[in-house]
Symmetry: C2
Subunit: 331 residues, 2 copies
């Protein structure tokens, strides 16, 4: 799959920052690819990229319209369809990472055919995936895990990869979600594979490697999220990770979209991940804690980071506030 | 989906009893539906049902040819295809519970069209499945869990349902695998749904019910099976079970198909299931232990059952050797 660059990022009718995390990931990690952003009239979010219509974006050279939205269930909202059609009418390709496929919506498919455009449903891997075996693989692996969804696992993984590259490591980020794949990384949307093949999918994207090679594998969900813990479990087993980095959003009280569920205690969450991970790698260890300080702000965040370092005896950081050098220095 | 009865059970080229567990389940639970069995020349297994060709079976009234095989990955072997075609040429429908779809194999699809037969790929649920919510549901739920695959979770579930019916309970077995669905039970093959929807699928098949109604939910895999633990985790969360019954095969040393992996210790396996299950039902309890004594024999098996009852303080049974009355009496 090759996405034609550059992109127009679509924000739909998003009213929460978490809803546009896919578009935001692209704007943060590949700003050079982003011509502008576009949304429909009910949207209250902006990525601080220049706002423009598909018509203007096309004139400025945009080649692909990115449906950069993430929602529970991965459905395409009725209100987005006419905006997608407008982009196709301008001759842009359209890429989406949602569970529901663009090609399954007849008027979208017909518009793409009529205007000679490509449709990319990146969440759907078309190759064969084997059943996981749990067989020991060579090379080193670091997996980001979390107390919940949308706490910064992809951001943390990419920041670690970048810092390790700068320090001269042989390292590659492995995507397990739509945003990473839209950024052009290798990987599979693990939450979209057939349930029996979750761990097998991760074994496939992170195969045997040179002894000093690192795969930085992006985690998904949380062992404590009652909607998605199956995916997180299979991912942890398939990753066979030597190291985990626990990602947490300071100040978040409840599991995303499930207000009855309190976020797990950090210590309990770390220990449970190590217990589950030990099945396929008995030497799994906690490497560090990534604390997303968006909600609590800089001053309080830095104090919490200091406190967590004392409590857990591992490097703690916010990849945006402090960078990840203190973690990578220990590898 | 309605399967035309009666059936001819197909055993393919099976050389292990576990490979034909789907056909065996039907022969055990609905012998009245089974006209005979058929296999190809390399098969070394029999269900002690009358052996006959599709031609003879058709003359005796067989309407559906059941591809009653279970393998890791759910693939259709090359050697089965010609046997399936022979059945279609006799005018029989064909039903399979494998991941790989019969309808995706061109010569099978063409033969079905030519001979006016139906093809049923029962593993593939065609309706919409919601994301799991973890929201408390009314009614009571018992889930069978296990130390591994193929230890007797479906058999145990069906035996509990039968005994509860005899004792006058309002109870229904909910299938989560191919064999249960081929038996005509309601349910979904949970290992074939998209990974993000595992717990949602179980919430869908076991919805709110009357306070005294019991759903007996069939478990899959094991939290300690590195190939399939993602499925088992989502199933446990979606089931929100009040009670679990731990199923184990006495004498099994290694995880099925993965010789490097020892079976978990029974106590550790029970505690881990309760820990994981507590996320969606804080009151989850161990109701009993189902010990499959096939490998160790009656005398040794009965001694082990006695010993386990002392050790864990719950009813222990082999559904075939002893029945499940001691468990149901405690409900």
């Amino acid at each position: 799959m090759i996405l034609q660059q550059p992109f127009l990022l679509y924000l739909g009718d998003a009213t929460s920052p978490l809803a546009v995390k896919t578009s935001r990931g692209i704007a943060q990690w590949r700003p050079d690819l982003c011509i502008g952003e576009y949304s429909n009239k009910n949207c209250t979010i902006s990525l601080n990229v220049e706002q423009m219509t598909p018509e203007v974006a096309k004139k400025k050279g945009a080649k692909t319209f990115i449906v950069g939205l993430a929602n529970s269930g991965g459905k395409i909202a009725e209100s987005w369809i006419s905006d997608i059609i407008i982009a196709l009418e301008q001759g842009m390709d359209v890429a989406s990472g949602l569970h529901q496929k663009l090609v399954d919506i007849e008027i979208i498919r017909n518009a793409a055919i009529e205007h000679g455009c490509q449709i990319h449903d990146v969440r759907h891997f078309t190759g064969a995936i084997p059943v996981g075996t749990g067989k020991k693989r060579s090379g080193k692996r670091l997996l980001t895990v979390g107390t919940d969804c949308s706490v910064g696992k992809m951001y943390t993984s990419l920041a670690i990869e970048r810092e390790m590259k700068q320090q001269g490591f042989d390292v590659e980020f492995k995507a397990t979600g739509q945003s990473g794949l839209l950024l052009g990384a290798s990987g599979i949307c693990v939450d979209a594979v057939v349930a029996d093949f979750i761990s097998g999918a991760i074994e496939l994207i992170s195969p045997d490697a040179a002894p000093e090679h690192w795969d930085i594998i992006e985690g998904q969900g949380s062992l404590f999220n009652p909607s998605f813990a199956g995916v997180s479990t299979g991912l942890l087993h398939g990753a066979q990770s030597d190291l985990i980095v626990m990602c947490h959003e300071a100040g978040r009280q409840f599991i995303k979209d499930l207000e009855g569920y309190k976020l797990p205690d950090l210590k309990q969450c770390i220990e449970h991940n190590l217990t589950v991970g030990r099945l396929t790698n008995p030497n799994i260890k906690l490497a560090g804690i990534s604390l997303n300080c968006r909600l609590v702000g800089k001053e309080k965040g830095l104090a919490m980071i200091k406190d967590l370092e004392k409590r857990f005896g591992v490097p703690c950081f916010d990849p945006i506030l402090t960078g990840v050098k203190n973690l990578v220095d220990t590898l």
